[in-house]
Symmetry: C2
Subunit: 225 residues, 2 copies
DNA sequence: TTTTTTATGATAGTGTTACTATTTTTTTAA
DNA sequence: TTAAAAAAATAGTAACACTATCATAAAAAA
């Protein structure tokens, strides 16, 4: 059986739904890989239009501006991650194991072969979140974007995470902040490891195991304290 | 006695040292407050030149581009914070107290009256770090910037913090990652509290006391674990 | 004091970015 | 088959991110 995950995107993110046409999918798919390649600051719709052999004007029919495209991709990632969390945690009754599963899911690099997703690459969107994730909310229009519920997927994931934290230790005082700390650090520590290794203790590690151990210790020490 | 703090800035940050002229100081001072006012994305040298009644070309004689100005301001903040840490921790022998002092210093909003600094406002630079700090390193030229030692102040602070962590508990395995986590979260949690409060447990707090308690619990639970 | 250097201002110019508008062609649906 | 919608082609504009040149004023050196 071949199951494809389809995520319902907030329609404030686009002018025309990119899922509904070949061009739209190309914009999202190639947009993601071009942003990853050259960085969000230097990415333009003009460059993307050359890459996918269309015009700037055509891209503007789908997305108001490049920030909306970034938000589209980032919220897709958070939605997909929440889906993975729901799926993976489903049969687990032990809350410690649930928490460990979540940490693993948010930290581990997805494999770039045999993607289970349709037109958005999970691997590419994971890379995007590490390098550009914070730029999706560090803006002066965060209040408007928030009213449009554009951060709902991230908040939902944080809420789900924190509800399991409460399940594990109902007396812990800062479940949301602890959840958002782990979520942020899963990506920050990875970024630091690759780019500013002296801010971490993982400089010579080839995989993410030590980051996972660090995050587990952060979480469980806090909860057993 | 009136003591003024003077921080030696890395000369790769500028083309002409802004400290050495009235115009240079104005660029830095008003640049900082204009970025805080309108956000880094919408900030331009043209807008700043109108504000301080000079020309774009004159500003370009001091800074290569607006990212270098941002880095100048952010690294000034980290340097100043390290100075405050050194000064405050100086006479303390108890390492627990040292750690608590550091958390307080990095988290608490500096007062915007009676600044002890010359032309850069500590209060404004604290605000800047919260909203724009991550943008100073989330770029594709981080590797070059790092070679130019532009992140040294942040690394130094992290190293100082982590050495006190080791002093408190020499067996703790992740002193650098724990230090960078606390440093990052001091600002992220504050940003979330103000803009995406459901990611935190501080929504209805008027001051930063609960953030400090959260960071203390994160730190000491990990170290006593 | 005079000369030289240096900083700033004034002005202009270029290629790119971030769009919007219009018109034509192609694709899809009734 | 016709009508509607989507995409392509083309053009245009204001702002952005610079670079270059020259005149002038102020500061520093001779």
């Amino acid at each position: 059986m071949h199951l494809e995950v389809r995520i319902k995107m907030n329609d404030k993110l686009f002018l025309r739904n990119p899922e509904e046409s070949a061009l739209g999918k190309k914009i999202v798919k190639q947009g993601l890989s071009l942003i990853n390649k050259i960085g969000f600051e230097t990415f333009t719709f003009k460059k993307l239009s050359v890459e996918i052999d269309t015009t700037e004007a055509s891209i503007y029919r789908y997305f108001e501006n490049k920030h909306k495209l970034l938000l589209y991709l980032i919220t897709w990632y958070w939605s997909f991650l929440e889906y993975k969390v729901i799926f993976s945690v489903n049969n687990i009754t032990n809350s410690e194991l649930k928490l460990k599963t979540i940490i693993k899911l948010i930290t581990e690099e997805p494999s770039n072969v045999s993607e289970k997703t349709d037109f958005i690459s999970e691997y590419e969107s994971y890379k995007l979140v590490i390098y550009e994730g914070a730029k999706s909310y560090l803006t002066r229009h965060i209040s408007k974007d928030n009213k449009d519920r554009l951060f709902k997927p991230y908040k939902d994931l944080c809420e789900r995470f924190s509800s399991i934290i409460k399940e594990y230790n109902p007396k812990y005082k800062y479940p949301h902040s602890l959840a958002s700390t782990i979520l942020e650090m899963a990506h920050s520590q990875k970024f630091f490891k690759q780019n500013l290794p002296s801010l971490t203790d993982f400089a010579n590690e080839t995989d993410d195991k030590k980051i996972i151990l660090f995050l587990e210790s952060l979480l469980f020490c806090s909860l057993k304290c």
